[in-house]
């Protein structure tokens, strides 16, 4: 996947010898891409291939190397019982898997939606000139800076119904009439997880959007001021289109992350059916249960889901792959 993709520059007509400038650039491009490709091939290629391979075997962690190829059995298996009844087995026939899929998608959608909105607001605020901006910028990153394993536990502490400060605060402020066991009740578990995730990752969004905002040339805002464009309109017609590339990348990485959400839920509500996501489920099979192959199959399905999503996103979102090149 490395060298043969770096073919001739497309713009040059056949008859023309490739220009030295172009050659030099393509050569440089190849040189620049190679280390990255090698690094990724080793660090990701082999493990990915292994995982996908295991998903087609009957591997267990007790017997990893004696695994035998069983084809699609882990995904879907149709068995006809002696009684003549047909039963379906495998991940795809497992309702709890579909529940996890639904949880994951639901979680990813809401968390990324809110992170985007809040991240944008925060970024706009940070983009404004005011005293103490540097400190606010640092403060804003704190949620992202606290290790997840710590912040998740911290929140589970704060969300506790007995000695959790949030229930106390809510009741003091009159927002709650009684303490709520946020992570325990199925109805609120997802909400709690969402709140924590949004709290934690909004800074990521905000910072990336902020960087995008900073790269927008200032003079076109002057033109817009002169054109009498209301700030709100300026936001939608100028800022948004121009940060769009940065925003799209931020969103895509957040969605990828959200679809793979693991540690937060693992700590906060590890076994609640209301929040169990694909990653949590697959981790369970891989390392806790004796179903390494099935876990691999689930990981592979998650990979496929993400890939489909990404392709759709790039296609529908018209993410532009070329631009400033020459």
């Amino acid at each position: 996947m490395t060298s043969e993709t770096l073919g001739a520059p497309v713009a040059v007509a056949k008859a023309q010898p490739r220009s030295e400038l172009m050659q030099q650039r393509v050569r440089a491009a190849r040189l620049f891409l190679l280390p990255m490709m090698i690094a990724l091939a080793i660090v990701a290629g082999w493990p990915l291939a292994r995982s996908i391979y295991f998903s087609f075997t009957d591997a267990t962690l007790n017997d990893l190397y004696g695994a035998e190829w069983i084809g699609f059995g882990n995904y879907l298996q149709i068995r006809v019982l002696e009684s003549g009844r047909t039963i379906y087995r495998g991940v795809l026939a497992d309702p709890s898997w579909w529940n996890a899929v639904w949880n994951t998608v639901r979680f990813a959608f809401w968390s990324v939606l809110w992170e985007t909105i809040l991240g944008m607001i925060v970024a706009l605020v940070l983009n404004a000139e005011f005293k103490g901006r540097g400190i606010v910028r640092a403060a804003i990153l704190i949620p992202w800076a606290i290790p997840t394993i710590v912040s998740a536990r911290m929140w589970s502490w704060m969300l506790n119904d007995q000695f959790g400060i949030l229930n106390d605060l809510g009741m003091r402020l009159g927002l709650l009439d009684r303490a709520v066991a946020w992570t325990a009740t199925p109805d609120t578990a997802m909400f709690a997880v969402l709140v924590v995730d949004i709290w934690k990752t909004t800074p990521f969004m905000a910072l990336l959007i902020l960087a995008g905002l900073q790269m927008i040339p200032k003079d076109i805002y002057e033109a817009a001021d002169i054109d009498g464009v209301h700030p709100v309109k300026q936001f939608f017609r100028i800022t948004l289109p121009l940060v769009r590339p940065a925003l799209m990348v931020a969103i895509i990485f957040r969605v990828l992350d959200a679809l793979r959400i693991f540690d937060l839920i693992y700590v906060l509500t590890p076994n609640s059916a209301a929040t169990k996501t694909m990653s949590v489920m697959s981790q369970e099979n891989l390392f806790q249960f004796n179903k390494f192959a099935e876990g691999s199959a689930q990981s592979t399905l998650l990979f496929l889901l993400i890939a489909i999503f990404t392709i759709l996103y790039i296609w529908l979102g018209k993410v532009n792959f070329d631009g400033g090149d020459r």
């Binding site: 520059p9 990255m36 290790p147 960087a211 590339p245």
Partner: protein, 281 residues
Amino acid sequence: MTASFDLWKLTKRVLFYALVVVIVVVSVFPFYYAILTSFKAGTDLFRINYWPTSFSLANYQSVFSQGAFPRNLLNSVFVATVTVLLALFLAVTASFALSRVRFRGRSLLLMTILAVSMFPQIAVLAGLFEVIRFLGIYNTPWALIFSYTIFTLPFTVWVLTTFMRDLPVEIEEAAIVDGASPWVIITRVFMPLMWPALVTTGLLAFISAWNEFLFALTFTVSNQTRTVPVAIALLSGGSQYEIPWGIIMAASVIVTVPLVALVLIFQRKIVSGLTAGGVKG
């Protein structure tokens, strides 16, 4: 007319600062709570306080007396720094190729890079473990630096590619005419113009590497090579089920402070208008 105008302006300012305060409070409150907790001990931990009631540095002392926390801090600094420098180096060069040189299969390549980020971390754990043992870097900081590229590299490459695409072509052309090689263009012309993007991706990647837990736990086995998040998970109370809450909070405060300082130092580079004045159009 001027009076009402000023009033409106004043309201706007007040609202703006109110928003700033809300944002800061929401972001910082849990951390503040962590600091409060880090000064508590025993049953106090289970009591709700909004203001400091007791002030004891015992938790901080235990952080440094248990295990090899200072050593773990150093490990984290080393691992995260090298990871970020390496990722930025690879990503800056790669993103130049991806954003500025037209070649066949470019979008496919970008997608491939992204695909690396599509696999759940836990799923690559077993395979990565094999690779790391094969390379003979198991239980060294290099195992972490190496494995962290799996999440830092796609991210930095994509973000920097996006940002580099937006830099004016004319400036690059001027450099070409001035006789600059691609390497010089990247280092002397583009990088200074991309400070916001570089600092942002660098910080975000640094923090991810700093906070990574699963790989760090799996690929290192001794206190001398482990990083801070694992060290925090290793902090323990007197007995099996007891979570040493105060100590964990103290440790979290200790590891978060350098990050805050880092942000404070580097956020100055997130300034706008870096490309202003370069070209007309």
